[in-house]
């Protein structure tokens, strides 16, 4: 038995990023369009409370609420927290306070940034007002932040029909999260062996099946695989499909053959691309071998070995 080598811990950056397209519905549409027009709209519940920011459904009764009310642009801090080190995407790049602000005429508070010289300049109960962003598009960030503003509370709210020219119906919300991906012990061993153009499977100590690529556990026995078993390099195409649509994020010309390949000595098939043969001549049972390219982490593709096709009965259990 070959003992498992101590794996070097692999890691690589992984960015999960997408510009989500969000439709708003009528209440949120009115609120965000209002911000673009420097107008702040709340929504009135059946019992007369004005919720700001306006939600579509009453948190207490669950009833739909659409009765819009224009509230003031000045308000009172109900609680706050001093953020000395702003993070990516937050409203201000210099130290600021997060604050819940109850705008005049509203009964609930809105979360946003409060620009203040330092924590000593912030307290619960202080008066603030909206500082509008220079360029407004109909988004919560049309409020650049709040700023200190001495004034008397003016609790009056005025009904508003929520109608604006060219209303904002949707927003694009780009979101990017950065991760550092590590594949773990078993896959690190597998990837390390591939660097020497060797495909190493791992044998389950219980059922004795050889897993390629190994994923850390024999999934049917629920125990770690460790014993290293070199498999291939040749194998058999067990099944495949011909891919005719080009995926945006893939640099592979279509059509191409995506195949399940049972490498000799492995107890299940791995996936690869078939080349070196016209796509419409690929068949189940075709014998193939890997083709490596300079610097490639994986075989670029598999090509026919020229051996006779494998008999169906020899691989049907691997389908």
């Amino acid at each position: 038995m070959t003992p498992a080598p101590a794996p070097e811990v692999l890691s690589a950056p992984l960015a999960v990023e997408f510009p989500f397209t969000r439709s708003l519905g009528p209440v949120q549409s009115a609120f965000l369009t209002g911000l673009r027009e420097r107008t702040v709209l709340g929504v009135r519940t059946a019992d007369g409370r004005v919720l700001l920011p306006p939600v579509e459904y009453d948190p207490v009764t669950a009833e739909e609420i659409r009765d819009l009310v224009e509230v003031g642009t000045a308000g009172t801090v109900t609680t706050w927290a001093w953020n000395p080190a702003p993070r990516r995407g937050q409203p201000l790049t210099t130290p600021f306070a997060w604050a819940l602000v109850r705008l005049d005429g509203a009964d609930t508070a809105l979360l946003h940034a409060l620009d203040a010289p330092g924590p000593d300049a912030v307290r619960t109960g202080m008066r603030v007002r909206v500082r509008w962003a220079g360029e407004r598009t109909g988004a919560i960030t049309d409020i650049a932040c709040f700023e200190p503003y001495e004034s008397e509370p003016d609790p009056r709210g005025a009904p508003h029909d929520g109608e604006f020219a060219d209303p904002v119906r949707g927003i694009v919300a780009p979101a990017r999260l950065d991760y550092v991906y590590s594949p773990g012990r078993a896959q690190s061993r597998y990837i390390a062996a591939l660097a020497g153009r060797r495909t190493m499977g791992e044998r389950c100590p219980s059922c004795r099946k050889v897993y390629v690529p190994p994923r850390g556990a024999c999934p049917t026995c629920g125990v770690a695989t460790e014993e290293q078993v070199e498999v291939g390099p040749r194998g058999t195409v067990t099944t495949f499909c011909i891919v005719n649509i080009k995926a945006k994020n893939l640099d592979i010309e279509v059509p191409y053959v995506y195949a399940h390949i049972a490498l000799d000595g492995a107890d299940l098939a791995l996936h690869g691309r078939i080349g070196g043969i016209p796509y419409d001549q690929v068949r189940m049972g075709l014998r193939v071998e890997p083709v490596w390219t300079e610097g490639g982490r994986y075989p670029d593709h598999y090509r026919p070995t020229g051996e006779p096709d494998a008999d169906y009965d020899t691989y049907k259990e691997l389908l």
């Binding site: 965000l32 706050w80 995407g89 604050a99 988004a139 012990r185 556990a217 999934p219 049917t220 629920g222």
Partner: protein
Amino acid sequence: MNPRRVAVVAFAQTRHRRRSAELSEVEMLMPVLHEVLAAVGLRTGEIDFTCSGSADYLAGRAFSFTMALDGVGAWPPISESHVETDGAWALYEAWVKLLTGEADTALVYSYGKSSPGQLRDVLTRQLDPYYLAPLWPDSVSLAALQAQALIDEGATDERALAGVAARSRCAAEHNPHAQLAGSAAPDALLDDPYLVRPLRRHDCPPIGDGAAAVVLAAEDTARRLCPRPAWIRGIDHRIEPHGLGVRDLTRSPSTRLAARHAGLFDDDAPPVDTAELHAPFTSQEVILRRELRLDDDVRVNPSGGALAANPMMAAGLIRLGEAAARIHRGESHRAVAHATSGPCLQHNLVAVLEGEA
């Protein structure tokens, strides 16, 4: 008709760590599954129902739980489910399954690796996607808003919060699974700078990776598997509105309500001696103690709680497991365990556990 009695009969967890880059999720989880099953002498095939909790966003991998299933050995196929939240809710789902009588045993597990991402940023994706998420308000800042409201109310102060931190981390010195153990005295802690005022680093949970598992069993099966089962006398969970400005952040009505439905305040209920509270931030312990009406006689978080180790999606299940383990060991007769989910204690679960009366 009396419902079936269901108990926690075994509990296991990882030694929680800041990072575990050398292990995939299944590699981290599997030893815990082996340990918890060994404790009751069962194999996967002898478990009637399996339920897990995890969240794709933590490590940035969709369907992460499908790979974690490799560690269970789900062959022949098993009766299995998954919740996209803390494993405490997986335990709840399993408890319901056992109550139906369709299962006598259940394996519950959960895991989370926070180390691959920036957890404070990741959790902003839990917020309302129109008004809140675009501002990227991080989890520490939201907890700080809640803490300040509590201080303004006069319910606590920074010195008292440091006391919670010191007590929790000193308790964790007896917990071999803790990520953080030991603490300077509260007054010394106050010399540290703020992370997000009014919270200092000691007020916040460590960020880390970990997994946990429990086995549930009903009636005679529980007695057979465990000399002193931790019977679930009641368990319930409740959610609050999402908007932070709609809620009174100094209160947790959902915790109070869940506790009532779990039987914590029943007239005939003897008092609890132990509480395992899922309070990732010191200020949240203050809120939870008040809502659960815990007096000073109750040992709160003898494990060190989430301030000692807070593997996301597992930390709530661990509270239930720690409370049960104390009953198993005879160190508690009656305990309350709590788990939370969402920003500023939005969603709360409460369970009352007790040893054989």
